[in-house]
Symmetry: C2
Subunit: 555 residues, 2 copies
């Protein structure tokens, strides 16, 4: 039994249990508190981050000898960090060599290594927060949580599922088949978990860790060497992750090339070459439908898990808290400037308006209610920056500009100004545009970023039908409804279940539709075009390994 | 709770347990005994089969009104059974409509229906035996077992895995996240299993039931409507299966179109149209690599599970029972005329010969030993017919003819003659040809049917390397080794694990490498080109359903 496995046995046990009961649980504290992480942790993390700027990142892995790296912080500066450039064949070959001993290791040994890596990553959460903040543009607190403890939760969750699935395979069994009057037929059988192939994890720029850790740790735990291909604008968080992994691997006597980084630059991408490489057996991808389609076409026969484009909706039919509803929706649209895969884009409202605790509200009034909540929420620049963060990609600003022309602008998008905004930071408050249900060309496409629409539908059933229809045809990772009518809620539950979008009902408080809780929510359903897999179930891990059998005729 | 679920609860419980422990277990007796199945069962089954010949098969499902069916028994007669012709769009549309209520049913209700269907199929095992015999060409006893109880085991196994995976999803949970001094954030969540899409099960001609039941019952249990596309030469066994399923569905108040048959004829195939249909979400296929590749290219984005072409090997390095080894190999080559996906094709022997309990044996002597065992085993026509059965496809005879020219013929293939051979039966004993390891063009390709090669390799390690290499590059569902050297066995275990082929060691008795036991062996590893999935693990079922979530803010 592995020493690391023993060290983290209790955490693993609780994680497996949490994944079954699916209540709230997390072993990694989400509060960036000195009492938890150490009084100097924040200063140490910031210093560590600064030391990585304008410097070669220390990662001892196979390289061409050149260096790459063109990351720019959405807060207005170039990172200047460079990484060892890689040759795809060289990298894959190194992974293959290293993977042999990794595949031979026991389940407990591999799981122990993964749990230790997660524990060490957890201790680096402050340096990680800065790395995530200055690549994704997330505000610091979100970067700490989503790039730190919450991402670590995701990793642990995958390890827990993988451990449980692998534990089902008995090591050995005597198989004895009765043969009537004759002695039984007897075989001694042994079963061993074997990996499926080298894993390739393709990261995104907005949630480099959160969206990668499930796959990364699922691959590792199930015995696969893994190559991480970060987004060229968000390399640093995953470089840190791979570096820590390699340290633990080496300490435990493994070839560190079990985990490799494949950094590149926007004008010289290497992702397609990696996807097409015959030795890559498993691909996890977060990104656009277009590239997802390319992968599906070019990775025939490989396992492909994706999270892709989607159009998330809110259906507002009635509420006993108009303020709570408008405030909650406004927060959902604002959090990280709408750059979450879980952020709503379309708010459907019946054309005749809705009943609320403040009386009847017309579509215009609902739109204006959300608009006012946005203005109030984001009025103070400090608070606004803490919620919005920065805009990761300059193209998002172009999308905002284009969306202005789609209809009546209810809430204008503008940069945040004030002393708390770093010079050169790319910021934008949400644009809210009022449309009619007929304007499908405008709203039936993902408009990634702080862009949202209030859409007048014929009536309640039409609003549900359109929102669920968008989920089914365009994909959706979340859905939300406001209604005081149980019959309407039941109808919506059926429609969104069929569309494969998890539905949140009557969120008027602090919980946002955007938030997907580890060990509880099935993040991505795999049941509509927004993704082929949930990150949080047995199906996500069970096919990443196979079983080798030996049957020996009993003496 | 469902009444059918209650009725079969104990069987399910034992099946789940057996799939964990993986020892011997089966609830469906494999002996065609009157004491078990009823004294008139055999006569009744034969009468039922005869009544289906030269008659329209009674299957009340959507049809164009025309009838199809050109099955021919490999024992020399036309079945003359016809089935309702289908229009693909009409069929898919019927499945979609019927699937809605099926998806809404509880896990227990669906599992109960599946278990009842299996129990009723079990009672029809005699009629099924004749149907399988006169489509596949299997000898009667094999047709009874592989088309009856053993196929039913496979179906039950899939239901057990599906039940276990679905049972993991809690129906409801209160999620309570502490918020420091503030009251906790509380969500009431419900989770519901939803199907992935209409399932398409594409059967083969040699094992119409055995190779289809895992997928068929996995799809049904997980809430998917299913369309069965049988091989045009082996419709009847699956038509019976679908008919029984539809009866149980209707009795339980479901639209019987949850299970549909898609029969066709060789000159007007409809498989491609079904595969490409956008409403088909899951495809299970047993057949050739060529068509498997076509499916992969044309079903991008769909779940695809396959069992395809492979080249299975025996490595003979030493033995303490030369007779036992030769006899066992000869039986493996003969059983169902080598038409099993598990039958060996290549027997690798070191060029310098091997040590045995009968002294040193040259390659020639090993080949001749197997040849003599074949002659002895198949010398009596009655016994030969009982082992060989008939040759399903006339093309197999052409392959035998071609293989004769590849090298020295050690055992000639010939039709079985005698009073026990029905007139017009297509029979062939195994052809055994001796080759050199350099003759890769001859042996590194699947030569489906009673065709086998004894191949001289450089030495033991070369024999293992070539056999495992064939598995890795061409696919293999089984592998077998004879060696008295534990070091050699260990080396082989590692090589075949890496090649994803389950290895049987020193089989000299009644157990054949061909036999894959339900609840114990991982049939198809999914780890080499012979198939993308094992039929017998969580990965086979866990992705056939997804989870719909509702999160409601607690009052």
């Amino acid at each position: 039994m592995s020493e690391l496995f023993d060290r983290h046995r209790e955490t693993l046990k609780q994680a497996v249990e949490a994944a079954h009961t699916r209540g709230y649980w997390s072993p990694y504290p989400e509060m960036p508190s000195g009492k938890i992480y150490g009084e100097t942790a924040k200063a140490d993390g910031e210093a560590a981050f600064k030391a990585m700027l304008d410097a070669p990142f220390d990662l001892d892995q196979p390289t061409t000898g050149k260096r790459v790296g063109k990351e720019e912080s959405p807060y207005g500066f170039k990172l200047g960090t460079t990484y060892p450039a890689v040759d795809v064949d060289q990298l894959v070959s190194a992974a293959k060599t290293a993977g042999k001993a990794w595949a031979q290791a026991s389940v407990e040994t591999r799981v122990g290594v993964c749990l230790e890596v997660l524990a060490r990553i957890n201790r680096q959460s402050f340096a990680m927060a800065s790395a995530v903040m200055h690549t994704s543009g997330q505000a610091w607190m979100m970067a700490f949580q989503a790039g730190g403890p919450h991402a670590q939760d995701r990793g642990l969750e995958a390890v827990a599922y993988a451990y449980e699935e692998m534990s089902k395979i008995p090591g050995a069994v005597r198989w004895e088949k009765p043969q009537g009057k004759n002695p039984p037929a007897v075989l001694d059988k042994t079963f061993k978990v074997i990996p499926r192939g080298i894993g390739l994890v393709i990261g995104c720029a907005t949630f480099p860790n959160w969206n990668s850790y499930s796959a990364y740790f699922a691959d590792l735990a199930t015995g696969n060497a893994v190559i991480v291909k970060p987004h060229p604008m968000a390399i640093l968080p995953l470089a840190l992750t791979v570096k820590i992994t390699r340290e633990v691997l080496a300490e435990q006597g493994f070839d560190p090339n079990v985990a490799l980084l494949a950094p590149d630059e926007p004008d010289a991408p290497i992702t397609k070459e990696l996807v097409a490489h015959p030795e890559i057996g498993i691909i996890d991808f977060t990104g656009s439908r277009t590239f997802g389609d390319w992968i599906r076409q070019n990775a025939a026969g490989k396992l492909v898990y994706t999270e892709e484009t989607g159009v998330n909706s809110v259906v507002a039919l009635s509420t006993d808290s108009f303020k709570g509803m408008c405030g909650n929706i406004a927060f959902s649209l604002s959090l990280y400037s709408g750059q979450m895969c879980t952020a709503p884009q379309n708010v459907f409202v019946p054309r005749d308006g809705i009943e609320t605790d403040e009386g009847h509200k017309s579509v215009d009034e609902v739109a204006e209610g959300i608009g006012k909540s946005l203005a109030k929420l984001l009025g103070d620049p400090d608070r606004a920056m803490g919620i919005l963060g920065a805009v990761q990609n300059p193209d998002t600003l172009k999308r905002i500009e284009a969306a202005r022309g789609f209809g009546r602008v209810v809430h204008e998008s503008a940069p945040v100004t004030g002393d708390s905004v770093p010079e050169g930071a790319r910021t934008a408050t949400p644009l809210l545009v009022q449309l009619d249900a007929g304007d499908e060309a405008a709203y039936l496409e993902e408009r990634f970023g702080p862009i949202a629409f209030v859409i007048a539908a014929t009536d309640g059933p039409d609003a549900i039908r359109r929102a669920a229809g968008a989920a089914k045809t365009k994909g959706a990772i979340t859905a939300s409804i406001y209604s005081t009518d149980d019959g309407q809620l039941a109808a919506a539950e059926e429609a969104f279940a069929e569309a494969g979008a998890p539905l949140s009902e009557n969120l008027t408080g602090q919980i946002l539709v955007n938030q997907s809780a580890a060990f509880s929510d099935f993040h991505v359903s795999g049941a509509n075009p927004a993704g082929t897999a949930s990150l949080t179930d047995a199906a996500f891990v069970a096919n990443r390994f196979r079983v080798a059998t030996v049957r020996r005729q009993a003496a």
